[in-house]
């Protein structure tokens, strides 16, 4: 490989592409060529760095300088100053929100300092489309070690002892699962990767696939060796075109390098991996439904047992693990179970990746040791709540999880603590909400989702969630009745107890947890016919406070229905008949003269 004295890493994750990183990359290439630096400086595309909100993001190594929100016109200056003259362009470096300090290296900033990157170890650092970069960073060394120095049972023991638990939701011991499949009788076995990423507000699996696809391939091969399988399937959502493309490239490259296919690394172990595209059904993330879908059928769950480890894909013993679970495996094999289990907390070992979003200053992807508190994540790493608003709740576990209030912010993030609090780890969505978010509305949002996604096979889920949704809709429309809360609780508990699969069993969680922690908000809707957060349309109307209105006319311009009238410099008025409650005027008024009551 050629040696370059500097590397310019341009993030080509989905978030940064959306904010325009492609033209930035082209600009760097052009400018570097123009200055005659093409032989010394290499421009590389990488996967998500984590701080998507500040994209397009650019890193320059060896210094590790982090330039954020880079514009095309900044590129000549960076090339001239930083790459030619060796002077870091301080002006464009990331600026800490509180201290306004600018650090010269990415690893010094608060957002990164407190993270521990295992599953994301390569994301943002290597070019995911070039296998050599992965290999140069210890890639496929774990596979080589497993194949040449370890027996399959030793691999399983190492994974067991590491304490690794599934990152896809359930949190089952990965080593134990592998042991079941290894013990199962049968000459044909399968390894499946669950990359269906069903949580509607999360994108960590996608980022791993986009930023470091070889890690998943390597881990699946190790799993194949451990249980005695020779075929693997990755079930990935068709809506993730970049991830699919990078996986295809990675599979092709691994095959060409003798790292996938027949007689891997010259041993007698053979293994191949195929991609199957999911077509957008949440329930297909459930393992038995996923297997049905890989087989080309409607993705409906079936009762367990038999578990996939005994009867899985085409009725053969099969292991299914999540993308992030796999991403931890090569490191465990290389560095050992002891190293891994020294990270995290007593019952939850290692790290967890979260996609933190919503009302938070640094939206993005983070990886933290288990046992970190919610407060550290929300305030220390992600910079707290924007616009001086008050924190209200944090939601984890997606549609299967719950909303946790401010009083629980000191809680450590662990599988068991989250469940006790009425939520769950889930696959890693973490959505922060402020005082403007209504908890009844959020419960309704999740239930609408699960209700639409219910496969309809069993009545408690199909009919029960529908009933619950009707009640929630009634409440948010101001038609709630005394006793509705109790009715919701009863329905919720009976659905949890009788639904066939995890979707139905967990669907009531968002409702139960919001009732548990925000009962007063439900009561305000039912008894006072008020939405304290001002979010439920039927319960608010918009008014202009005459004293505060300067008559600037901004609201009038943005109103789509001409509901606002008024002379310049005179107080304006809203015609309630015409108002469709679109919130535009409220967002726009520079003087805070518009209120929702």
């Amino acid at each position: 490989m050629e040696i370059y004295r500097a590397h310019v890493l341009v993030c080509k994750g989905t978030g940064c592409v959306a904010s325009g990183s492609e033209p930035i990359m082209e600009a760097f290439e052009k400018e570097i060529e123009k200055k005659g630096l093409s032989k010394e400086v290499k421009v590389v595309q990488t996967g998500c760095l984590g701080l998507c909100e500040l994209g397009p993001n650019v890193l320059i190594y060896p210094e590790g300088s982090y330039y954020c929100t880079v514009k095309a016109e900044d590129v000549p200056e960076i090339v001239e100053e930083h790459l030619l003259k060796g002077r870091i362009v301080e002006r464009l470096l990331y600026k800490e929100r509180d201290t306004k300090e600018r650090y010269r290296s990415l690893m010094d900033i608060d957002f990164y300092k407190r993270q521990k990157r295992i599953a994301l170890r390569h994301c943002g650092l290597i070019n995911p489309e070039i296998i050599e970069e992965y290999i140069a960073n210890d890639g496929y060394r774990a596979l080589a070690k497993a194949l040449t120095e370890m027996t399959p049972q030793q691999v399983i023991d190492e994974v067991k002892q590491s304490g690794l638990r599934g990152r896809g939701g359930g949190g089952f011991s990965t080593g134990t699962k592998w042991q079941f499949a290894a013990n199962a009788q049968g000459d044909i076995k399968y390894v499946v990767c669950n990359a269906d990423e069903g949580d509607p507000g999360a994108f960590m699996d996608r980022s791993i696939l986009e930023g470091d696809p070889h890690t998943v391939l390597e881990a699946m091969e190790i799993a194949g060796y451990a249980i005695g399988a020779s075929e693997g399937y990755i079930y990935v959502r068709a809506e993730y075109p970049i991830a699919v493309k990078r996986l295809e490239i990675a599979i092709e490259q691994a095959r060409n390098h003798g790292l996938l296919g027949k007689n891997i690394l010259g041993t007698d172990f053979s293994f191949d991996i195929f991609i199957r595209l999911g077509s957008g059904a949440f329930v297909c993330g459930e393992e038995t439904a996923l297997l049905a879908s890989v087989e080309g059928r409607r993705g409906e769950p079936r009762p367990r047992p038999p578990f996939p480890a005994n009867k899985g894909l085409w009725d053969k013993p099969t292991i299914i693990n999540n993308v992030e679970t796999y991403a931890n495996v090569p490191e465990i094999i290389l560095k050992g179970a002891e190293w891994f289990s020294s990270i995290g907390s007593e019952k939850s070992k290692g790290t967890k990746v979260f996609a933190v979003g919503g009302k938070i200053n640094h939206t993005g992807l983070i990886e933290i040791p288990m046992g970190t508190t919610l407060k550290e994540v929300i305030y220390d790493i992600c910079g707290g709540i924007p616009n001086n608003k008050k924190f209200k709740a944090v939601q984890t576990g997606g549609p299967s999880g719950g909303c946790l209030p401010a009083s629980l912010l000191d809680m450590p993030i662990e599988y068991d603590t989250l469940i006790q609090a009425g939520s769950m780890m889930g696959s890693g969505g973490m959505i922060v909400m402020d005082e403007d978010n209504c908890m009844v509305d959020i419960a309704k949002f999740f239930l609408t989702f699960t209700q639409e996604e219910s496969c309809g096979k069993c009545p408690p889920c199909r009919i029960g969630t529908k009933r619950m949704l009707e009640i929630l809709e009634r409440i948010s429309n101001g038609e709630g009745k005394e006793g509705d809360i109790e009715l919701l609780e009863n329905l919720a508990n009976s659905i949890k107890a009788s639904a066939l699969c995890g979707l139905g069993q967990t669907a009531p969680n968002p409702v139960l947890s919001t009732i548990r922690y925000f009962r007063d908000e439900y009561e305000a809707h039912i008894k006072d016919k008020k939405c304290p957060a001002g979010a439920c349309k039927a319960l608010v109307h918009y008014e202009i406070i005459a004293d505060k209105c300067k008559g600037c006319g901004m609201c009038l311009k943005v109103c789509p229905t001409q509901a606002i009238s008024g002379e310049r410099r005179q107080p304006h008025k809203i015609d309630a008949e015409k108002c469709i409650k679109c919130n535009s005027c409220f967002d726009r008024c520079p003087f805070g003269a518009i209120v929702k009551i």
Partner: protein
């Protein structure tokens, strides 16, 4: 008239293309989803003619094909507009006001979610996290992401496609 004729020819050509494509799946186990995905990529949606073709090639019943299509939200039974707008209703976008963005799109286009405008120009759909939560609320038009939206930015964005 000439336009209609052209459309008809295009449709027939694409059907032929699908027929060719399907050959490789003949007799293969578990190929239904992949076959449908590829067929939709060619035609843009899955009209009855395509469904029949798939059923015949894979030797399964038409009702099995139909029930699979309606099970997965990725598949469409109706033709889509030239510009396909997908509004992210993922959690991160939702808590930052995605529903108001969707409402405004509905008002501006005069259609509901799942529909296409009469001139065949725009279709409107909802989707889940598109991986741009940092730019929430966000929408995608064809392949391009528009982020950090407020409802009043919608008319200007739509104007670009006039």
């Amino acid at each position: 008239m000439a336009v209609a004729l052209n459309q008809q020819q295009e449709f027939t050509a694409k059907l032929k293309q699908i027929e060719e494509m399907l050959k490789k799946y003949k007799g293969q186990k578990g190929a239904l989803l992949q076959a449908l995905q590829e067929a939709q990529n060619i035609m843009g949606y899955l009209p009855i003619e395509v469904q029949e073709m798939v059923a015949e090639t894979l030797d399964i019943t038409l009702s099995e094909v139909y029930s699979t299509i309606t099970f997965y939200s990725f598949f469409s039974l109706k033709p889509k507009g030239k510009y396909q707008i997908r509004t992210c209703l993922g959690t991160a976008c939702y808590v930052r006001g995605a529903e108001k963005i969707l409402d405004r799109l509905k008002t501006e286009l005069g259609i509901e979610v799942g529909d296409t405008t009469d001139d065949g120009k725009f279709s409107l759909n909802a989707c889940r996290c598109i991986g741009a939560c940092g730019l929430a609320p966000a929408i995608i038009i064809n392949d391009e992401v528009y982020g950090r939206l407020t409802p009043d930015k919608i008319p200007d964005i739509l104007k670009k496609f006039e």
